[in-house]
Point group: C2
Amino acid sequence: MKIEIQDQYIESFKEFLTRKGLRVTNQRMAIFGAAFSCDNHFTAEDLLEQARKLDDSVSRATVYRALPLLTESSLIREVDVGKDYKYYTANKDVKTFQAQVICMDCEKIFEIDAPFMEWYGKTVAEKLLLSVEDQRLQVSARCDQLKLKGECNRVFAK
Amino acid sequence: MKIEIQDQYIESFKEFLTRKGLRVTNQRMAIFGAAFSCDNHFTAEDLLEQARKLDDSVSRATVYRALPLLTESSLIREVDVGKDYKYYTANKDVKTFQAQVICMDCEKIFEIDAPFMEWYGKTVAEKLLLSVEDQRLQVSARCDQLKLKGECNRVFAK
DNA sequence: GACTCAATTGAGACTCAATAACAATATAGC
DNA sequence: GCTATATTGTTATTGAGTCTCAATTGAGTC
C-alpha cells in the first residue's frame, strides 16, 4: 500500500519524539504513517492492521504505547463515541472546531464544522474560572435519518 | 443507611416497570434507591456497593441489567467522560441542558447549566437534516485550575 | 392463602479492550 | 563498530461489562 504523507507531519512527529528524548523507531513511524493514511476514524485495532501493512513486526502493545504519543503531539485526537472502545482520527488540516455526529445504528461518524462552539465553550468555562483544555460536542442520531442522505454505512454494506 | 426519596420517583419507576410488563422486585427497587441516594456521579460498581446496603442480595449482573432500565425510564442518564468505564447520574430536577466539566487530574465532574446548547445542537443538526436524539458538551480542565475555587477532590483527599 | 409459570435472580464463566512484565532487540551517541 | 538503555514482541493479566443456566420469586388465578 502506498502512503503519501506531507513531509512536515513526518518531521513534526520526529521532532516531537527527539525533543522528549524518545527514539525514532520503525514501528512508531509505521503507526504514525498508518494513522495518517486513514481517511476516517479508526480504532486501535484498525490502526494495528494498517500499521502492519507498513511494518509487519508491529505488535498490539506497541500500538497502544504509541497512541498516547500521537495524541500528546496533537497529530491525532481521541473521538469518544460512548462505545466500550475508543476511536481516533488524524488532525490533518482541521482549523475550525468540529462537532461529531454519530449514527447510533451503524456507528458511522460525521465531523461537521461548528465554529461557534469555540466561543461558546469559553463562555461556559468562564463560569467556573477555568481555561478550556479541550471540548467536544457530540450529537447522536439515528440511521434511518442518515439514510435520507444516502450516507449511512448500512445502505452500502448490507 | 436511611434513604429519603420522593414518592413520585418511586411511583414513576414502578409504573415504568409495570407498563413494560416487568416485575417490581426488591433488587430493582434497591438499585433504584441507591441511584437516587448518590449525590454525585457514580459508576456501576459504586451503584452495586450502595444497592447492597439496601439489599445485600443484589448481584453485579443485576445492576448491569437494571442500568438500561433506569436510563430508558429517564430516571438516570449516562455521563461519558472518556474513561474506560461509564459514569451515571440521577435525573433529579434537571430542567436545562448541562455541560460536563471534567477535572482531568482528579476525575471530579461538575455539571453546569448551558441552556444555549439546546438551540445550538439543533442548528448543528439541521446541517445534516437530522433530528437530535441526544447531545453532550464536555469541557476538560486541569486540577490546578479547580484548586483556585477549592473544589478539587485532591484539595481534600490528599 | 396456595398454585402455577414465566420473569428474574445470583454465581460464575466468559469476552474483549487495554495494560503490565520481562527477556530479546534495536537505536543513538560515541 | 560498540555500548548503554530505550523499545519491542510475546504472553499473561486486568477489569468493565455480558452471558449462561439452574434456582428462585413475583403476580395473576383459584
